[in-house]
């Protein structure tokens, strides 16, 4: 298997709902279990300036949905000024026919 790029830094050119949905699955697991040392290290090394607006919004939606945003931003200074609450200008679809069940996603113009 070739050397893997951290998913949050992948080139998203040409991505559609399936790829962003998959990124959401990865980020969801990463932040849901952020107390795990390996996952905590990945988060602590995240550089938001290397991420797309879509990736940052997904992180914001996940953290807001689980009520963890403030605690995570206190723990990881690198995420403090990432713009995690800024809605996307262009809607991001994670499914072609989204269910829109989760308010924090909808608020950031993400349709899951």
């Amino acid at each position: 298997m070739a050397k893997r790029i951290p998913p949050h830094y992948l080139d998203q050119h040409g991505w559609g709902p399936d790829e962003f949905n998959s990124l959401n699955a990865y980020l969801n697991r990463l932040f849901l279990y952020e107390s795990d040392p390996e996952k905590s290290r990945v988060i602590a090394q995240m550089d938001p300036s290397r991420m797309s607006r879509e990736t940052i919004a997904l992180i914001g939606a996940i953290l807001t949905q689980y009520g963890k945003r403030q605690a995570v931003q206190e723990k990881y200074p690198n995420l403090r000024y990432a713009g995690l609450t800024v809605p996307l200008e262009i809607p991001l679809y994670l499914n072609e026919q989204p269910l829109d069940l989760f308010p924090a996603y909808r608020e950031l113009n993400i349709h899951y």
Binding site: P7, A25, F102
Partner: protein
Amino acid sequence: MTNQKPTLSLEEFADLLGQLDRFIGAHNPELNLEVRAIGGFSLMYHDKQTSLVLLRKGSSDIDTLTHLPQSVATMVDIIATNNDVNSDWLNDCWYANHNFEEEFEPYITWEPTEYTFKHIDLKVANPKGILLMKLRAVCDALEFAGYPDNPEVLAAELRTQDVMDTVSLLRFLGIETVADLEAFPRPVEILGFDRFVRYAVDQGLVRER
């Protein structure tokens, strides 16, 4: 430019299992490792093989409902390092930490996969078995939060992936109404199921009739 996806594909998981198979063959050839996949990997497999449409794409790991011996856990770690993937790409946390094996094993049918190995017997849980486990996870959160009260508590407890997986399975199994949902066999007690019925109606996941 890369064609790498954010999470591993079935073929990439199979490649990792193939490496583990060779590792076992070289170091512990008497071992026959049973991998009984539940959760994301098993759903990905059904998504590929059946008409199930998975609304949550991809999985970061294979959750097995079997015990991984320490020798295997060490091999899994080494393979993770060699391939630059998470060290829990194969894990037994649902077996070790959640008593799921004891509770749900009798009600799961294990289905063979197209991926065969010399020292690893890989099977995936059937969709009804997965739905039973997903219902447990979702209903636990709804019960804990006291749905429909305390929406913030519910949001914190309810894993979005569990909800999306549950919807995928309800659709695949043709569960469209409250009556369909209530008729779904629940051989184990699922506390909070009544709250789930209400949640499913409120969210438009099933119809009243």
